[in-house]
């Protein structure tokens, strides 16, 4: 049976030789620049995944809420940036070079605000029913998507980026690196650092972690857990908003742009072990690079399939993720 498949595949390949690209056909120097450039194109994916995953991990890890509408918060951020660019281009052309920075901030707060609304109107009824939050937020995502469609139209939109974000610089003539990718990268690192400081060095962060450890106890020692939850959710959504802003530099925004990333993002979170920030970063990096490298040597779709398969298998062997620590049950 397998021979049979092998045969027909080989036959298939004769006609369609680039189904997979054997490494052999590249010279060493080519391979080197491939890895450099693939590395970088992986990094921009890594940035978006990480920003998405950060928000998701905070919400999931801290509150046990599975937010399937997270992608839509990302899309929201992207749309905000788009609106800003429209406004700026039509009314304050002078600001064009700088608006993007401001837009990012606005994106953060808009998403956070909507997050607050959602937490208050929906999520708070569902604490400690993770599976139900999963379904409810899916419903929410449908509604948000259709809202985007009615407001911004089905056609994908794309903010006009300031010139300094476009183009690329070339260290060598076979390598060149898109500037927007580097920018997003930097943005991601800053935000991640900020989140880390916030979670582990600030008083609110302390409260948040305390609440995770022991909700009742924290309540007893006077932490307003409900407020903490609400805040956590907002923060997560806000970060998703920033992810959206970052996303506009590499892709175009449509009503369902967010939903395309949600599964990958969840895999990142679970894969990294929901409790550890480092884990999330590491797995985002691994998955993004994996996808980008395999995307080079396999054909587009199958590259993704390969990565998904690997992740699923690993998760079956280590369900709690790669970086979860052994705890006293």
């Amino acid at each position: 049976m397998w021979n049979g498949i092998g045969r027909s595949r080989r036959k298939h390949l004769v006609n369609n030789p680039t189904k997979t690209i054997p490494m052999s056909q590249y010279s060493a120097s080519e391979l080197w620049s491939i890895f450099i450039m693939q590395g970088f194109s992986g990094l921009s994916l890594f940035s978006v995944l990480l920003l998405m995953a950060l928000g998701l991990a905070i919400i999931f890890g801290q509150m046990g809420v599975v937010n399937l509408a997270h992608g839509e918060f990302m899309a929201l951020g992207a749309y905000v940036v788009y609106l800003c660019s429209e406004v700026v281009h039509n009314h304050f052309p002078a600001l064009v070079p700088f608006y993007f920075i401001i837009a990012i901030v606005i994106a953060f707060f808009t998403a956070a605000l909507v997050g607050l609304l959602v937490e208050w109107s929906l999520i708070r009824f569902l604490y400690r029913r993770p599976l139900d939050t999963l379904l409810a937020t899916w419903g929410l995502s449908l509604i948000m998507q259709q809202t985007f469609r009615s407001v911004f139209g089905a056609r994908e939109v794309t903010p006009a980026l300031p010139e300094w974000l476009m183009g690329s610089f070339k260290p060598t003539d076979s390598i060149d690196i898109p500037i927007n990718g580097v920018f997003v990268m930097g943005l991601t690192l800053c935000l991640t650092a900020a989140v880390w400081l916030f979670m582990y060095r600030s008083r609110i962060g302390l409260h948040m972690r305390a609440t995770v450890q022991n909700r009742v106890m924290s309540g007893a020692v006077g932490i307003n857990t409900q407020w903490v939850d609400r805040f956590t959710f907002c923060l997560g959504c806000g970060i998703a908003g920033v992810a959206g802003a970052a996303f506009t530099t590499i892709g175009s925004t449509g009503p369902d742009s967010g939903s395309r990333y949600i599964v990958d993002t969840f895999l990142v979170v679970v894969f990294g072990g929901t409790t550890s920030l480092m884990g999330t970063i590491a797995s985002a990096f691994g998955i993004a690079q994996g996808q980008s490298i395999s995307g080079f040597f396999l054909e587009g779709t199958m590259g993704k399939v390969a990565i998904l398969l690997t992740i699923i298998i690993v998760l079956m062997i280590r369900p709690k993720g790669l970086f979860a620590s052994k705890l006293r049950s």
């Binding site: 620590s325 052994k326 705890l327 006293r328 049950s329």
Partner: protein, 248 residues
């Protein structure tokens, strides 16, 4: 320690550590047939962890658990149970929305495999056993009552009853009289003395008065190590134990 013919349960060099913290540390312990052993000790001494280790809920970092000379370490929980070990949890864990009868029925050691379960029917011997156990645990008039509505003490009994349905050779009870009134404690003590015939029982208990009434032998645990072992009065007069309990 070599397991002599009478030794049912033998723990040797049992150790487990969570992120470096040793909850149980090189524990050696053996329990004889028909023996009712009580483990006491201050909070965090690792008492419950010992039970977890024996019944497979937690995997030891090191050491062995021999039951009738059969190594339990590495077996899955249900296999350990099938080997004849029954374990009652600290908080009574019964099936709240099943009746007492059904609670016991589900615990009956037949039709445990998927297909056994599908083909299982309530044969007379099952009903007969349920009746007998219900009688033993003072619940024979409550067979049709839903688990949820039982009193705290009755729940404790029901869980013990559920264990008895399995006819275990080793019975491990975590604080069986917690939240019981004097009368119920009385009955529980009787119950325990009755059922330790033909099997050995391992109990974790805080209430010294109750311990002294049931225990054949007492083991004092402290920081995952055995502090003292012997009859109740021996232990009570042990200076170290007093030190630990009164704490200075």
């Amino acid at each position: 320690m070599i397991a002599n013919t009478n030794t049912q349960l033998a723990l040797s060099d049992l150790t487990v550590s969570f992120d470096g913290f040793k909850a149980v540390d090189g524990l050696n312990l053996s329990i004889e047939k028909d023996e009712l052993r009580v483990i006491i000790g201050p909070n965090g001494a690792g008492k419950t962890t010992v039970l977890d280790l024996i019944c497979g809920k937690t995997r030891p970092t090191r050491g062995s658990v021999k039951f009738n000379n059969r190594e339990l370490v590495g077996l899955a929980e249900h296999e350990i149970v099938r080997a004849g070990v029954g374990r009652k949890f600290q908080t009574p864990s019964i099936y709240e929305n099943l009746s007492v009868y059904e609670n016991l029925e589900v615990s009956f050691p037949r039709g445990r495999s998927v297909f056994g379960c599908l083909s299982f029917t309530d044969t007379p011997d099952v009903t007969e056993r349920i009746q007998r156990v219900a009688e033993e645990i003072y619940l024979k008039d409550h067979l049709e009552v839903e688990g949820a509505v039982l009193s705290h003490g009755q729940k404790q009994w029901l869980e013990i009853g559920m264990l008895l349905m399995q006819e275990p050779r080793l019975l491990m009870l975590d604080e069986p009289v917690a939240g019981m009134g004097p009368a119920e404690r009385e009955q529980t003590a009787e119950l325990l003395n009755r059922i330790c015939k033909g099997r050995c029982i391992l109990i974790i208990e805080h209430d010294m008065e109750f311990v002294s009434r049931i225990a054949h032998k007492v083991t004092v645990l402290h920081l995952g190590k055995i502090l003292a072992e012997g009859s109740m009065e021996q232990v009570q007069n042990d200076p170290q134990v007093i030190e630990v309990y009164l704490g200075h």
